[in-house]
Amino acid sequence: MMKNNSSFLKNILDQKAFRTVLSALISVIILSIPLFNFPQQNLWIRIIGYAGLYIILGLGLLVHVGLAGMFDLGFAAFYAIGAYTCAFLASPHFDLHLPFLAVILIAGALAALIGTLICIPVLKLRGDYLGIVTLGFGEIVRMLLMNLTDITNGSQGIIQIDKPTIFGINFNNSTYFYYFIFALIALLLFLLNRIIHSRTGRAWLAMREDEDVAQMSGIDTSKYKLLAFAIGAFIGGLGGAIFASWQGSIFPDNFNMNVSINILCVIILGGLGNHFGVILGAMALIALPDILRGFSDYRMIIFGLLLIIMMILRPQGFLPRKAPQFEGKSSSSPDHEKEVQS
């Protein structure tokens, strides 16, 4: 443990035992919300469920930004592709009604494919330049969805999207979506954990620390960048399909730049390292404005202030990335603090 004079809060959050207990506690709470009838239950199912959707999206973006170090400002594009794929395959629009599990996988796959294609020309770009290009792609996807009216119905959107029927259970209630989302989150957390501790994960870590050095030490950075982009996009596509079938109607405006920025906020608040941080980040960012509803008119201005204050108080996010442990370097060295902060 770092011995320094930082605040009690900081120390608490860095304690591993505390974090495990917190995770367990949060999981139990999340699991039990739909089980016990309490006032405004449906509202909370909706709010937490929607935060859950952003957790999924956050995990996808985390692969891009947090794991592979690629600054992505246009993640909503993959969300949109997933959503529209679902809408095409399971609604009266083209009169196709494929089963949901197939739809969600196709949605993810299509998003991954497009993500890979987008990534190929921009492999050489770094930092903020990559950010701009991804921002541009995000906007281009949204605008295409808006203007290819014959295919997408343009600004009128696609409505009456099918509700999923999985193992005979029809999802006519938000509760089903709620559990589906959190089950998927658990699965994703597990899979991502495996990937991070695999060779791919180590390659990403190396690329993130210093791309040039990584390349020189023999890592095929192009391949790993493409892989990261594809995986992250896949996850985004999954989220999109869930959103489309949950909300039942989608419009191009549901996927604008604010959405990309929100997802980015989620993972930065969460800490950009630990994927469990994404959960906290999503809860904070999504649930918070809804909790602030009591302030009606002043809701957003308070929210803006809170973002600033949260960053000033804890700039590394809730659960920051642990610095890589190197041989011979103890964790109480004076450099450690600085590394963790970056």
């Binding site: 600004s155 559990y179 957390l189 909300q247 509803r293 009606s296």
Partner: protein, 414 residues
């Protein structure tokens, strides 16, 4: 690491188990909540298939209002809230129970609108919702209101799918875009004798929707649409669109969109030398944000809107409204009427049970709204089985000086 593996896989298994039981359990939970209402009202002579709203003595009756209360369209949303507030003031109490308006900020977007819908649906003292303001918000939110049998009446969502769902609790007291387009085309063609039209829209559900409706009707009437272009909301400079649309030299230009961009557009059209007719939908009917904002370029522009003024009680409404809130923006009067309709219907079907609770049967409430004609400040309001107005009055206004003068009224329905 393996500890985490175990933890996560246990979590996954737990999730799936919960999903199987929890989903079913919750579905049962939702039903008992409704059944409980029915069972409670032992005194109710008639069974209401949607359940009852039970408001104990001393609690307040809540009227919900869903609109954009913050961010970009807040001016319109606040206006709606203000209209409903005045309506509640005018109405007084409901059989002795105090009525309050509760605003839900949907920011004119789908997802917040659904959250607001859930929030309102979860409120046991809520009798109905005025709004949502925007069509893109209404369409997803309707699913929630319908599932919970919450009365919803919107004074401003004009897109056609809003009342196409067949739900019995959804109402609209504004003409839909189809009718506005019909009026527009008729006026252009028959009153102004114009046969060439250029169309610009803002790529929104509302703006593009009505623009395309105008396009198809104008062409069906035998006119020529010389071009249809879309602008990006948020841009200020439309010079490129302006020059493209003017290339074909149309006699008139139809704008599908809202006031702010409409003002910019008409200004830039005139600056580019366009002298023809400028026509727009209800979204531009605003003196401060269209007529004044365009600084003189709006002179002579036409727009369609539901009839306001000249109907019963408008002057009194205006006096009360302006005293508290300044001039109404656009949907304040409509919101007033919507709120009053809900309250009137509630008063008509409400009973008091032996425990002193106010009981309002939900389906009877919706049926009462549908069955009761109402002469409001926006005109005569009577519903058909879809929840749209049977008789709709659309007025064509023209900007003259800093006034919006009605120049022709169209009536639809019997």
């Amino acid at each position: 690491m393996s500890k985490r593996f175990v933890f996560v896989s246990l979590l996954t298994i737990a999730m799936l188990l919960f999903a199987a039981c929890g989903g079913a359990a919750s579905a049962e939970e939702a039903a008992p909540a409704e059944a409980a209402d029915t069972a409670d009202t032992a005194d109710a002579a008639v069974e209401d298939e949607w359940g009852y709203i039970t408001i104990p003595a001393g609690e307040k009756v809540v009227l919900g209002l869903s609109s954009a209360l913050s961010a970009g369209y807040a001016a319109y949303g606040q206006d709606m809230l203000n209209g409903a507030t005045v309506a509640v003031q005018d109405f007084g109490d409901l059989n002795g129970w105090e009525v309050v308006v509760e605003g839900g900020d949907d920011q004119c977007e789908g997802a917040p609108g659904v959250t607001v819908a859930e929030q309102f649906s979860a409120n046991p003292y809520l009798i109905g919702v005025v709004g949502p303001m925007c069509s893109g918000t209404a369409i997803p939110a309707i699913d929630i209101y319908a599932a919970n049998h919450v009365l919803m009446i919107t004074p401003s969502s004009t897109a056609i799918p809003v009342t196409a769902s067949g739900n019995q609790n959804i109402f609209r007291i504004v003409a839909n875009d189809d009718l506005q387009a019909t009026v527009t085309v008729d006026y252009l063609f028959n009153e102004l004798d114009l046969t060439t039209l250029g169309i610009v829209h803002d790529q929104s559900i509302y703006g593009q929707g009505i623009a395309e409706a105008v396009q198809s009707k104008f062409e069906a009437a035998g006119g020529t649409v010389t071009g249809i272009e879309g602008i990006t909301r948020g841009d200020q400079d439309f010079s490129a669109v302006v020059s493209t649309i003017l290339e074909a030299d149309p006699a008139a230009i139809y704008w599908g969109g809202m006031d702010a961009e409409g003002a910019l557009l008409v200004n830039q059209l005139r600056a580019a030398g366009f002298e023809g007719v400028f026509f727009g939908p209800d979204g531009i009917k605003s003196i401060p944000s269209f007529v004044q904002a365009a600084g003189g370029a709006a002179e002579g522009a036409y727009m369609t809107f539901g009839a306001v003024g000249g109907a019963t009680g408008y002057e009194e409404f205006l006096a009360k409204f302006t005293e508290q809130f300044g001039d109404p923006v656009a949907y304040g009067p409509g919101s007033y009427d919507a709120a009053t309709i809900v309250l009137n219907a509630a008063k008509a079907v409400a009973t008091v049970d032996s425990d002193g609770n106010l009981i309002i049967p939900k389906k009877a409430l919706a049926d009462m709204v549908r069955a009761t004609p109402y002469d409001g400040i926006t005109g005569h309001l009577e519903f058909d089985e879809n929840g749209d107005l049977k008789v709709v009055s659309i007025t064509v206004f023209q900007a003259q000086g800093e006034e919006l003068v009605p120049v022709k009224v169209y009536d639809f329905g019997e």
